[in-house]
Symmetry: C2
Subunit: 178 residues, 2 copies
């Protein structure tokens, strides 16, 4: 199977640092050309499932603008320009929870939108998490740090209580991994 | 915990039917006001995990513009304006595979981006899938229909072979559900 070829990229709109909209000229395998394929450049981000040696999952109960009411959430955040995804994950875990972790494992990376791009999600598992500092989060949302048991995470994933797509993905992947 | 209040929505860019960019004026619980919160309106979509009575998972091997090489994929597509998500799922399954299913179950719905919106993913499980027609897909990508065993899906999810975020999410959720 042949992938599509990008013949031209054109900038059509920009709202730095969060969004660049491009129009791509794309050639399909049958040589058909699409002149105005929408492509979104948005920041890549990390999410982390951090688990203590006592099998506690570090999660938040928090609000989020796109979510009705509150949601459960894993740690996460945007990757700074040029930052290594693993270092971003370690930075976010420390900032948001005050925890470090003894063992880090990559769970995978995924395009957010198969058609439009829209950034890449990088997922990490952090085992042997331990408290080392106070929280220093710069997030705008109200957050409450929770330590959930595996059974609580299983029930939350089953009922969709992680209401944002990458949050649900990484929590489901972590449950399958163990 | 209080959610954020939307005080004003302003249209800043439009590329119909796939993208509307808005700037929202948002009031936080501490009464702080953000004047230019980026919000993306993109089409809601469905994904479907269809399983036959012989425990075969209907999947595709296909290309996708945002993906390097090929990826495994479940059935899915955009919801038409005003269309019920379940009906969209049933329509997409029939168009893309020629299959109907005896039992439909909602797996959940998720905001794609907790900050920016960017559409909602609606996930369904279709059990007792059976062939009833030839495929009639209008998708632009090359696709090969596969019937995977549960063990093959488990291995594919573990190695991240469903390379697009919602695809990975629904496959992981389906494995946890059974």
């Amino acid at each position: 199977m042949e992938t599509w070829k990008t013949l031209k990229r054109e900038l059509v709109f920009k709202m730095p640092p969060y969004l660049t909209v491009e129009s791509h000229t794309v050639e399909l395998p049958d040589k058909k050309v699409i002149e105005d394929w929408l492509w979104l450049v948005t920041p890549d981000f990390v999410n982390i499932v951090a688990v203590t040696d006592e099998d506690e999952y570090l999660c938040f109960r928090q609000t989020k603008y796109a979510v009705d009411g509150t949601s459960l959430a894993p740690t996460g955040g945007y990757i700074e320009p040029g930052e290594d995804p693993l270092l971003a994950a370690q930075r976010e875990l420390l900032e948001e929870t005050g925890y470090k972790a003894k063992r880090w494992e990559k769970l995978g990376q995924f395009s957010v939108d198969g058609n439009r791009g829209n950034g890449t999600a990088h997922f990490f598992l952090a085992r042997g998490a331990y408290k080392t500092a106070e929280r220093d989060a710069d997030d705008l949302e109200e957050q409450q740090l929770l330590k959930l048991s595996r059974a609580e995470v299983e029930a939350a994933v089953a009922r969709g209580a992680f209401k944002v797509l990458p949050w649900q993905t990484i929590m489901a992947m972590a449950l399958l991994r163990f």
